[in-house]
């Protein structure tokens, strides 16, 4: 991207037709992500038996689900053209509340689960309100709320600990039709997205991220859109926290920060634009799978696990470069 691109008149002589080439360029980042996932799965499968089985799918999805939930909220915010760093604090706080309040009584668990989800919704709405009413930058607002939520989590539970009931931990092992509950959650996420992106709300969020001024001129209330967007992100972060406790069985006041930037990375690897308006959850979910599978790959290749962050960083850079090259090519075709 050259700095001047923005000032140039857009797409002078674009053909008013759509060919497969342009279609592919448009989806290049997503296709590249799918290709990378296929390559990783193939290498993994060649080194390890039983990779392409339901058991493996159940295991990997269970491992990736926290990131997927967090990244779903992040994807909505990114499509709006914002960013939400506070999900890290919300995840920590959620696990801590669950680990200190849950008892063996299902009613108590239900009550506190709903409370955690409601808290996520409220904190997110507050983020959106601060951003629109005070006209503040999402990055700083959510950085500040991340710090505050993290602090509250540390006050409630200074170190990792607490516990959740045994049956709660068993959630991930529940199966239906051979598929584990996390896989069904994945299905639910896909169905949710298929529904959400074609509701008026979904379209309006995308439109606002694509061009805030045009959306405003078309009568969109920016404040309402911000509040809704960040509230959804907070809700998904709270959901991620609840799911995480089924995996870890305890609370941690610091665990949330491990999901902040990876949630952004998963979305970007999957082709979601940081500038708003473009991207799909499908890409994000592929991105989350890639980031999770790299860990397995490093393990079966018997190389140092320290290569894992190196590989994720390189994959992140590759996908951003791919989308920037595809963008340039698409622009070139329009001249």
């Amino acid at each position: 991207m050259t700095p001047l691109a923005a000032s140039r008149p857009g797409s002078p002589e674009a053909p008013n037709t759509r060919d497969w080439h342009g279609w592919a360029l448009d989806r290049a980042p997503f296709l590249v992500a799918c290709l990378m996932l296929a390559v990783i799965a193939t290498i993994y499968g060649s080194k390890q038996t039983g990779v392409f089985t339901l058991d493996e799918l159940n295991l990997d999805t269970a491992a990736a689900m926290t990131l997927m939930l967090a990244a779903t909220g992040q994807t909505i915010v990114l499509i709006r053209g914002g960013i939400d760093l506070s999900i890290g604090g919300m995840i920590s706080l959620g696990t801590v509340i669950a680990a200190t309040r849950f008892t063996d009584d299902p009613a108590t668990v239900l009550f506190w689960s709903l409370a955690i989800l409601a808290l996520g919704l409220a904190i997110g709405a507050l983020n959106g309100l601060l951003i629109s009413v005070l006209k503040l930058q999402p990055f700083l607002v959510t950085l500040a709320t991340w710090s505050i939520l993290n602090g509250v989590a540390m006050i409630i539970l200074p170190t990792d600990g607490g516990s959740v009931p045994g049956w709660w931990i068993g959630f991930g092992y529940l199966q239906f039709l051979g598929l584990s509950s996390p896989v069904w959650m994945l299905v639910a996420l896909v169905v949710f997205w298929w529904w959400f992106r074609s509701t008026r709300l979904g379209i309006t969020i995308q439109a606002t991220g694509s061009n805030e001024k045009s959306a405003f001129l078309s009568g969109v209330s920016i404040t309402r859109i911000n509040v809704t967007t960040y509230a959804l992100s907070g809700l998904f972060a709270a959901g991620a926290a609840l799911y995480l406790t089924t995996q870890t069985g305890s609370g941690s006041p610091t665990i949330g920060k491990d999901y902040i930037l990876p949630s952004v990375a998963a979305a970007v690897i999957g082709g979601v634009s940081l500038f708003g308006g473009r991207g799909h959850l499908a890409g994000t979910l592929v991105g989350a799978f890639i980031l999770t599978l790299i860990g397995n790959l490093v393990f079966v290749l018997k190389i140092s696990s320290y290569w894992q962050p190196v590989a994720s960083g390189i994959i992140l850079l590759l996908s951003v470069l791919a989308s920037s090259i595809a963008d340039k090519a698409a622009r070139g075709r329009m001249r």
Binding site: M1, T2, P3, L4, A6, S7, I83, L130, V133, L134, K135, L136, Q137, F139, L140, V141, L143, A144, T145, W146, S147, I148, L149, N150, G151, V152, A153, M154, I155, I156, P158, P253, L261, V264, A265, V268, L274, F275, S304, Y306, W307, Q308, P309, V310, A311, S312, G313, I314, L316, L317, V320, L321, S324
Partner: protein, 326 residues
């Protein structure tokens, strides 16, 4: 002079906040204003301040540098490994490590300015890659102790003054000259305000952008070297806290995260505020959790004070007070 006050309102506010905090702390913890305590506060603030120097330049230019933690950490580890506790190798190790930091900055800058990669993604990627590479290379084993000279630089004293405070002062003077008195500063503020306008005015925008990341890599590496002297050796994760504090110091110091405004003098106050808060809370018997809550609140309040909406509100209140009508 009211022009000056208006222009630098946010920086002055940061200093006012710093003084206020010092006074409050003195009330709750009478020993806080002692020379030795102030010295240790300044030493701790200096590390934040040095890392935040590069971050200030990057943010004024409209970017952000998330690679700070592991540039710092890598510099610390490589320096201690290569020196093996001896002073003499520093003669070549220090320039090498600093050049390495600058090199990472160069990669960040080129990715952002030439390839159009969003700063958040570019610097996030270099951060995790560095993190992995240094672990692969060292295997996470403990490093030799820091050389004596480095210890002297970070905890030593010349007369009543900590050496690192003097280093910080020198860097502050240098940064101020760069921002206020050098062509680079003009280019930087123009770039951060509007890339297009800067480009149309003949400003070398790509070069200026790259330079900010190079400076940030340099200061992070330098802080990493110095920090080993403070903690005695290098350890994994020693840079993690500096990502948040460096950005927070810049924000509290009055710079806009969108770029184009702010000054390192404000960041200095921001670094001091953060460090004083860290010292204040134990005196109030508050936990580290409470510290994070206070950090978040302070950031929210300071950025609100600088926001357009707040300025508009203030104008509205003033004008309605004058005219007696809303």
């Amino acid at each position: 002079m009211s022009e000056f006050l208006a222009r630098n309102r946010l920086i002055l506010l940061a200093y006012a906040g710093m003084v206020l905090l010092l006074l409050v702390t003195a009330v709750f913890s009478p020993g806080f204003l002692s020379a030795s305590n102030l010295r240790s506060t300044v030493v701790l603030a200096a590390f934040v301040g040095i890392v935040a120097l590069g971050q200030t330049f990057v943010i004024i230019g409209g970017g952000i540098d998330l690679s700070v933690p592991w540039v710092l950490n890598c510099a610390a580890i490589i320096m201690t490994l290569l020196c093996g506790g001896q002073d003499l190798p520093l003669a070549w190790v220090a320039p090498l490590v600093l050049a390495g930091g600058a090199g990472i900055g160069l990669i960040n800058g080129v990715g952002v300015a030439k390839f159009g990669v969003p700063p958040i993604i570019m610097t996030l990627a270099t951060n995790v890659i560095l993190q992995g590479l240094i672990l692969v290379v060292t295997g996470g084993s403990p490093t030799p102790p820091a050389p004596g000279l480095i210890k002297f630089l970070s905890v030593g004293r010349i007369g009543p003054f900590p050496v690192i405070a003097l280093i910080w002062l020198l860097l502050t003077v240098a940064a101020t000259i760069l921002l206020s008195k050098a062509p680079f500063g003009r280019h930087l503020y123009a770039l951060g305000t509007s890339v297009t306008v800067a480009e149309f005015s003949g400003v070398p925008t790509a070069r200026t952008t790259i330079l900010t990341y190079v400076i940030s890599g340099l200061t992070a590496a330098f802080a990493g070297i110095l920090l080993t002297g403070y903690s005695g050796q290098a350890y994994l994760g020693m840079g993690d806290a500096y990502l948040f504090t460096s950005i927070a110091a810049v924000a509290i110091g009055g710079a806009s995260i969108l770029g184009g405004s702010g000054h390192y003098l404000g960041t200095v106050a921001g670094a001091m505020v953060l460090t004083i808060l860290t010292g204040l809370l134990p005196a109030l018997n508050l936990s580290s959790g409470a510290l994070l809550v206070v950090y978040g609140a302070v950031i929210l309040i300071t950025v609100s004070l600088g926001s357009e909406a707040f300025a508009g509100l203030a104008r509205l209140l003033r004008s309605s007070a004058h005219k007696g009508e809303a």
